[in-house]
Amino acid sequence: MALFSKQNREALLTPLNQNNPIAVQVLGICSSLAVTSQLKPAIVMGLAVTIITAFSNVIISAIRKTIPMRIRIIVQLVVVAALVTIVSQILKAYSYDVSVQLSVYVGLIITNCILMGRLEAFAMQNSPWPSFLDGIGNGLGYAFILVLVGAVREFLGRGSLLGFQIIPQGAYDAGYFNNGMMTMPAMALILLGCVIWVHRAYFYKEEK
């Protein structure tokens, strides 16, 4: 089988768009509200979820024929938990301030529905390479929405992007205010709603 056959390309690309884990499958909402108040943690969280989804998909897919059916969810959880712990330890060692910002949410990747959903729905039936692509695709689909919401929230809430001030001091002197509401999770939910709205308006036109 070719590395990028039609099916494999679909496994990688549909979650980015038509089958986006947040916008369409509505998975992983909790963490996407919590970590998107600034762009940097949103990017790190997106990457962490992408890596963990991809590798847990590969591992589960590789051992899928040996897993006893009765404890398959437990086996999946153990694999995910081990990967999450490793990623969180690496963050603590090499990116301490980000790990402080993400705090409990790295650990909570374990409970992110995207992971368990992909393991059950895809990795248990497919071989490692397509599972890897599926994990990357779903992780990036998740990361894309996180980055979008994170960028809007940081820009409107703090006037900066990735910590660099974008809105000039002159604007503040002229009476511009940062919108403090944007730093609250409630606004993330509203923004997420807007993203889903735009996404649906665009992709479900033909069905009407």
Partner: protein, 237 residues
């Protein structure tokens, strides 16, 4: 292979758990030195923040800490005399490694610092916020009568409300110049919703009454532990 038999299931889970346990133990051991260094550096940055030295990058703060903090002396509740020869306590010694549980066990650390040629003392404070632990560092002037600077941090206070004790730098700056003790050496530095003594009290954070009360209790309680040091110091002046 019969993957549904009981013995297979038990053997499978046992082997899986052992493999994962070894893997995690290995990762933990391999990364521990780097993690400890990060935690120590973060603590140094917090102590520097209390001395109003903020926004330095990693290397600069490590260097600045070395320059500014002359000693970390460990007190008990009975023995609170500053040793004559501070050089023995220079930099990161036992005091720096103490945490809140040592504090509960009755070992109190005092950071002796020098900023622009002036002696300052930094006291760590530990308390409870609304949702979890809060802590901070309070820098006092050489005669321990007034606050030189303050820094607070928290584990899980509400963003925008209780979390303001960490995020709102202007609020931390309000502590500067507040009186610490009254004539009878009672700790009067505090946080109040309704400020009656602006010399020693700071206005509470709006919408975060319980976190503010936690800060108030933390200040009274923890600075109180250094009472005999503060008394002695005032006599000296």
């Amino acid at each position: 292979m019969k993957t549904n038999s009981n013995s297979y299931t038990i053997a499978y889970s046992a082997i899986l758990v052992v493999i994962v346990a070894f893997l995690l133990a290995f990762v933990f051991q391999a990364l521990k030195p780097a993690q400890d260094a990060n935690v120590a550096l973060d603590k140094k940055k917090q102590i520097l923040s209390a001395l109003n030295i903020r926004d330095l990058d990693d290397e600069a703060s490590a260097a600045k800490y070395k320059e500014v903090v002359k000693a970390d002396v460990v007190f008990t509740s009975s023995d609170q005399t500053l040793p004559k020869d501070l050089n023995r306590y220079t930099g990161e010694n036992d005091g720096f490694k103490l945490n809140s549980s040592d504090y509960k066990a009755g070992k109190y650390v005092l950071y002796v610092c020098e900023v622009n040629g002036q002696r300052k003392y930094v006291i760590p404070v530990y308390g409870m916020g609304l949702w979890g632990p809060i802590w901070g560092y309070i820098a006092l002037d050489a005669d321990c009568s007034k606050v030189y600077g303050a820094y607070f941090n928290h584990e899980s206070e509400t963003a925008g409300l209780g979390a303001e004790i960490k995020d709102n730098r202007q609020w931390q700056e309000k502590f500067q110049g507040k009186k610490v003790v009254d004539a009878q050496n009672n700790i009067i530095l505090g946080v109040e919703k309704d400020v009656k003594n602006p010399q020693s009290e700071v206005d509470a954070v709006t919408g975060a009454t319980l976190t503010s009360k936690g800060v108030d209790a933390m200040l009274k309680d923890c600075i109180g532990k250094y009472k005999s040091f503060i008394e002695k110091n005032e006599e000296v002046k």
